[in-house]
Amino acid sequence: MSNSTITNEFALARLSAKFGDKIISSETPFDLLTIEVPSADAHEIIQWLKEDEVLKVSYLTNLGGVHYPTDKDREFAVVYHIHSLVNNFRIRVKAFIPLGNPAIATITDIFVGANWMERETFDFYGIIFTGHPNLKRILNEEDMDYHPMRKEYQLEDDTRQDKDNRFFGR
């Protein structure tokens, strides 16, 4: 990831100059700039990243959810991987949202391709993307009444007695 034409420091400085303390924190694990932003501002920041003349981070690589059951009021993270094909620069944007109100603005108006990725995240975690044109389950059945990727759901039935998971690397 080293042949990028802009550096993480430069991009972060540019972001901070524009958004100030809306960039809650930043780090660069494995040389990939990762910023945390408030969920209410994620849409605005992603839109700016796409439209900015210098950064041009305009290719949505990936969008997904993460469930941190022990983090109070930060139970869900929505993680965006966005890529600037012109500058060959990648950035990871994270927004945390609470279990009580798992909602975040959709980015389907910025990237059409976010449509199914958001549907999948909704399907898996129950995260509501407000403003999404067609927010319904995509991979699981529509009448399923829970969101299976949440950590409270075990992979196998808890009542199963014939197998001790400790011995199966699980």
């Binding site: 694990p29 290719y59 949505l60 990936n62 059409v112 199914w116 995509i138 991979l139 990727m149 690397g169």
Partner: protein, 408 residues
Amino acid sequence: MNEWLDDDIKPGNNLSKETIDGDIATLNLGPTHPATHGIFQNILKVDGERILSSEQTVGYIHRAFEKIAEHRPYNQITPLTDRLNYCSSPINNMGWHMTVEKLIQAEIPKKVDYMRVIIMELARIADHLICNSVIGVDTGALTGFTYVFQQREKIYELFEEVCGARLTTNVGRIGGFERDFSPTFHKKLKDFLKEFPKVFNEFDNLLSRNRIFMDRTINAGPISAERALEYSFSGPNLRAAGVDYDVRVMNPYSSYQDFDFIVPVGTQGDTYDRFQVRQEEIRQSLSIIKQALDAMPEGKYFADVPEFYLPPKEDVYNKMEALIYHFKIVMGETPVPVGEVYHSVEGGNGEVGFYLISDGGRAPFRLQFRRPCFIYYQAYPEMITGQSISDAVLTLSSMNVIAGELDA
């Protein structure tokens, strides 16, 4: 294209019967239709032969791999990746291995990189061969398919020689390969490299400049570069639209920077361009394999990561450390560093990404697969609106939508 459409009939719109004159029929294309080559359902609204709108249903073979991955030690996740794009499983396997190697910051010998390149490019050839020959089949030209399928069989024999498996290969390990390429492998690969170009050119002659095939595929299911980028297309489908994005060049992994190859691009993003881009990529892959073979470095075929790389069996029986490592790996007791990593490789269909969060536990805290099929298949209704039903079938096969990758 689409001149016959009125202004209010735009791609992607669902039309009511009142919107246009004439009868509109509803047609179920799939879920199990031989022409879809997989389990996809498309509910089409058609006016005669013309498609007015399409609604997709996916998820028929959803196996919850991301959930399963949260309960498996790292080396047991490789077989899950096999079953994503099962036409080129080695690329997924190695993409996963490289993701873990990035997390544990393993230093990989050059020889492993080159061996991986050979296997991955063979897989790419097999993947593209299926796609392109099936485009032929869907246009009614079955002959080419039978030619190249023998060669695909040869590639599977090569995989068999390396790892014992053919389709869901589970090839290699975290850190490298379980054994060096055998003399038989080298002989078979040499034969393949000698024989394949002849057969491939024969196949190319059948279709590439065939008037009927060209008339049939040019302008079938086109997409512009702008739309393709909006939809996060990647791989041959994006390149056919004219964007030269290739992970192998943009973010080289596994020493791809050592090899000299070109990234073919199309202009129209239609079925013919997708076909041609894949044809050229097969030639480039052959050239990469030859370069890797010629420049194959000396050295070990595995990295020095004893905590992840299974020791040889004789050592397990005779050495204490090897026995301990063996036990720990098999039981999933290997300590893994805490971290968050995204790694992507150029799969048969585009950027195959692995977003891995490790909390130090025996299994990933979260593992997300970026599946190119899942992302670009959502553009399908837009691409086939205004086209005929037979073009829709062609578009589907030329996009190379693989059910396993789509549904994970």
